[in-house]
């Protein structure tokens, strides 16, 4: 017989878990006690929300569920924002929370929170474990549910007495959930219709979303587009699905996207959406899509199809599978007129490198930064103006662009970068954030130092909550309220207090040299860039 806590650790090991991001407390003490004897590495974060974000960054790079763990009550509620963030972006997580003893449930005892209830809208599924015998099966199911179909966070709430119960451990068999059988392969009839529609179209266009990464279909997407000669635009979550410098890539679409990408959408006669939700941010108005545009929508989640745009050919399945199926069917190669037109428009776009009277030029800066970083670097963008500057101007060649697209959660970048770096220590990982968001997650510098995580941090300092200030300027007659960050500390001094080398620049003249110094430095480095508070997003 072993204890429930032993069974949890053993089950996690069986799932191949190598790292857990967490924060302890009384109701997870039995589990921590056993975890200390396991090979699984525990990363102590400085706030539970960041355990979830770090697990998310880890999952996105590792292509398997990230695991985070907190105590009951406030530990669990602190995790909710991270669960919501992962849920909106379909990131697989397994979150384990401690819970008060099961015989006390519902009595509002110390540090009890109904977390399965509170997190219900933000989880793909959740479990409240009532008996230790169920643990091996539940943990196996949780990893299965989190990582298959449309991925998402799964919560396992485990009362402290269940962690101490004894059980006879048996390895669970194959997961077989009657109500849960995601469709992977595309329907053969629909594949034929796709090919026919492509053959009949003059200006086909692919719109790639985050689903490309979930399906690990970057290679297939590139092959497919090149084989048939179809240009590509992406949503923010789809940035990097094909290299941003690829001749067929026309840029990110949407409210903050490139004009040519948006124009391409309205001119195309066949839009092939792959793993993209096309939310309000992505397509300003569905009216932006041309009246005669036919839409093929490929998604693993049937509930997404037709949600925001009406669809001509719906195809449910895994993007990787479906692209492979379409490629093996007969499809003609398209002429180069339409891709050529977009290519020549794209070649005329000049990234804004103009010097500013005050501070650096953030658009040119992020372009320069991502250009100087290794080809396969991982770029974590936070939320705010800095996210828009990054999304529109950075170069993702063979690496990844990680950001909180659906929820727009400030404070995502640094913990996500920590997770990404631990998932792939050979990659250079950079987090770019505003001075507002930095003050939401700067405590994680402690985590970085404690665990020797080597990431590069760039803080765009405008002393304002820039994006909100911009909204107030444009839509509220410049009535600036509650966006001034006066009182903020000297950020380089904060970094130095942690022993992290830091530097501040306020001119593009030194940008290249400062970036080079940051890249050269072995270990974490923080670069503060002064930005004019009136710099606009677009």
């Amino acid at each position: 017989m072993i204890t429930g806590a032993d069974a949890i650790v053993r089950s996690l090991e069986n799932e191949g878990v190598e790292i857990i991001f967490g924060y302890p407390g009384a109701t997870v003490c039995p589990l921590y006690d056993k975890l200390s004897k396991s090979k699984i590495k525990h990363i102590l974060v400085r706030h539970e929300q960041h355990a979830g974000h770090a697990a998310s960054g880890y999952a996105r790079i590792k292509q398997r569920p990230g695991v985070c763990m907190t105590t009951s009550g406030p530990g669990a509620t602190n995790l909710i924002t991270a669960l919501g963030t992962a849920y909106m972006d379909s990131i697989p997580l397994v979150a384990i929370t401690g819970q008060v003893s099961s015989d006390l449930l519902g009595r509002d005892v110390f540090q009890e929170a109904d977390i399965t209830g509170a997190a219900e809208p933000f989880t793909k599924y959740s479990y409240l474990v009532k008996c230790a015998d169920d643990l091996p099966r539940i943990i196996k199911e949780a990893f299965h549910i989190a990582s298959t179909g449309r991925p998402g966070p799964v919560l396992i709430d485990i009362p402290v007495n269940v962690q101490n119960q004894k059980l006879e451990y048996t390895t669970p068999g194959e997961v077989n959930l009657r109500g849960y059988k995601p469709t992977i392969k595309g329907h053969a009839g629909q594949i034929k219709r796709i090919c026919k529609a492509i053959n009949n179209s003059e200006k086909p266009l692919i719109c790639a979303g985050g689903g490309i990464f979930a399906a690990n279909a970057q290679k297939e997407l590139k092959q497919f587009a090149e084989m048939i000669n179809i240009p590509i635009v992406s949503t923010m979550m789809g940035i990097g699905a094909v290299p941003t410098d690829h001749p067929l890539y026309a840029g990110m679409l949407g409210m903050h996207g490139k004009n040519i990408a948006n124009q391409a959408i309205s001119e195309s006669d066949l839009l092939i959406l792959i793993g993209a939700r096309v939310s309000d941010r992505a397509v300003l108005l569905p009216a932006n899509v041309g009246n005669n545009t036919k839409i093929i929508h490929i998604d693993i989640d049937p509930a997404e199809i037709g949600k925001n745009l009406s669809t001509f050919i719906p195809v449910v399945g895994d993007a990787n599978q479906i692209l492979t199926q379409v490629m093996s069917a007969q499809t003609e190669r398209k002429s180069d007129d339409w891709p050529g037109l977009l290519r020549s428009k794209k070649s005329k776009i000049k990234i804004d490198y103009n010097p500013r009277k005050f501070g650096i030029n953030p658009k040119g800066f992020v372009n320069l930064l991502s250009g100087m970083l290794p080809n396969d670097h991982i770029y974590c963008a936070d939320v705010g103006q800095n996210q828009i500057w990054s999304a529109a101007n950075c170069q993702i060649r063979q690496g990844r662009f990680l950001t909180s697209g659906g929820m727009g959660t400030m404070g995502y970048s640094i913990p996500a970068a920590i997770g990404a770096k631990l998932a792939d220590p050979d990659k250079t990982v950079v987090a770019v954030c505003g001075d507002g968001a930095f003050q939401m997650n700067m405590m994680e510098l402690g985590t970085i130092c404690q665990h020797n995580v080597d990431i590069k941090i760039v803080v765009m300092k405008n002393n304002k909550l820039g994006l909100v200030k911009e909204i107030q300027r444009n839509s509220y007659k410049d009535n600036e309220i509650a966006v001034d960050l006066t009182g903020s500390p000297d950020i380089t001094a904060i970094a130095k207090a942690y022993g992290i080398p830091a530097r501040s620049i306020d001119s593009m003249d030194v940008a290249e040299e400062a970036i080079a110094e940051m890249i050269r430095h072995k270990g974490t480095y923080l670069l503060v860039c002064t930005v004019d508070e009136n710099e606009s997003s677009m």
Binding site: S102, L105, G106, D114, G117, L128
Partner: protein
């Protein structure tokens, strides 16, 4: 012990999830949960059957009473209520078995409502215990599928 709770609630979205949430918090499984409109369109009637410790149920009841949307709620004692369950049951009916199934059905007050060459569908309206017994009686023939409503109850 088994409890039959009868609640009069506001007829608004979200009521059922608030009510069921209080049971979920305790880790209780609800046996049956029926909601329907009433003589007054502003209100709905929920009839909930749940197994649980008497003290805990009493506590959940007082927490439920606090909810804005609950007009009244009561744990009805078996002797002071009438209650019924509706059952549809699809039973395998080989030619050789048909007559015997119909005889048994008659004896249990169940009606044949559909027939095909392979099966019969029966309908019965009775107390929960008698419906459970009935299901046992039909098991030997082979039950293809069954569906029943939860308990609907009214105070005498």
């Amino acid at each position: 012990m088994k409890h039959v709770l009868s609640a009069l609630v506001n007829n608004t979205p979200g009521v059922t999830s608030r009510v069921s949430g209080l049971f979920r918090r305790r880790g209780y499984n609800i046996d049956s949960f029926i909601g329907s409109s009433t003589e007054d369109e502003r209100f709905s009637r929920l009839t909930i059957v749940v197994q649980g410790d008497d003290i805990v149920i009493a506590q959940v009841l007082s927490q439920l009473e606090k909810l804005e949307d609950i007009i009244s709620i009561e744990d009805i004692r078996p002797e002071s209520m009438i209650s019924k369950v509706l059952l549809f049951i699809k039973v395998k009916a080989e030619v050789a078995d048909r007559l015997s199934i119909i005889v048994v059905a008659n004896a249990c007050n169940a009606r044949v409502i559909e027939m095909s060459k392979d099966y019969l569908i029966l309908e019965a309206l009775d107390t929960e215990d008698r419906i459970s017994d009935m299901i046992e009686v039909f098991k030997p023939y082979g039950i293809i599928e069954l569906v029943k409503t939860g308990v609907v109850a009214m105070k005498r």
